[in-house]
Assembly symmetry: C2
Homo-oligomer: 109 residues x 2
Amino acid sequence: MVKSSTGALDRTFGALADPTRRGIVATLATGPRTVGALADPLPMSLVAVSKHIGVLERAGVVTRTRVGRTQVCRLRPDALRAAAGWLDAYREFWTVQLDSLEHHLREQV
Amino acid sequence: MVKSSTGALDRTFGALADPTRRGIVATLATGPRTVGALADPLPMSLVAVSKHIGVLERAGVVTRTRVGRTQVCRLRPDALRAAAGWLDAYREFWTVQLDSLEHHLREQV
DNA sequence: GCTACTCTTAACCATGTGGTTAAGAGTAGC
DNA sequence: GCTACTCTTAACCACATGGTTAAGAGTAGC
C-alpha cells in the first residue's frame, strides 16, 4: 500500500529504529566520516552500509558530500532535534502521570 | 532475513515511525481508552487500529487489559523514556556542535 | 589512458508494515 | 441459551527494509 503522508518524523523515527543506523549516528556525533570508515568496523557489506546511510539521509539525519573519491558523511542536528522535541511533549507524562498511576493502583486495592 | 538483535529501542523507534501510532500515543497521554474509542475518529478499520496497537504493545509503549468486553489501552512511560534518553545523548551535539560546524565552514572559505 | 580505489546502482530474496475483508472468540444482558 | 457487542485472528495484497552479489560510475595518480 502506498504511504500517503510520510512525514519527516516518520522517516526520522524509522531511521532510528535500527541498531546499525543508531551506531552510525553515534559515530558521526564524534565527527565526520567517510562511508568506508563507517563501514569498516561493521559486520556487513559496504553496500549495506551505503543503504543504511541512504535511509539516514532521506530522514534528514545525515548528509553526504563528495570529497575526492570519498563520500564524507556528517550529522545534521535538525531531524534529531525534531524527534527529541516530539518526545519531550511526553516527558511530563512519565514523571507526573506515574504518580497518578500509582495513586490509581492504590485505589484499586 | 531474520532480524537477530531486535532490541527494545528498535521496536520503540519503529513504533513511533507512523503518524497513526503517534496519534494514539498522544491520545493515551490524556488518559486510558478502549480500542474502539481509539479507532473511532481514525479513517481506517478497527482491525487496522488493533494491529497498530499491537505494534505499540510489542514496543512496550502501550498495555492492553480486558475490562468487561472492552479492551482498555494505557500508555507505559518506560519505553518512551528510554527513547528520549537515547536522543538526549545528542542534545549536546545540536547545540554545542553547531557552533563548531559553523567554525569549520568558515575555515573552508 | 590505464589501473586502482571508493562508492552507488541493479537485481534478487526474505520479512515486517499497513491496509483490506471475513470469520472467530469472549463477554454482557435479556 | 440466544443475541448483540467488542475485539482479535486469518488470509490476502502491495510496498519498504535489510541483507546479498555483480556490475557500473567517478576520481586519483602513475
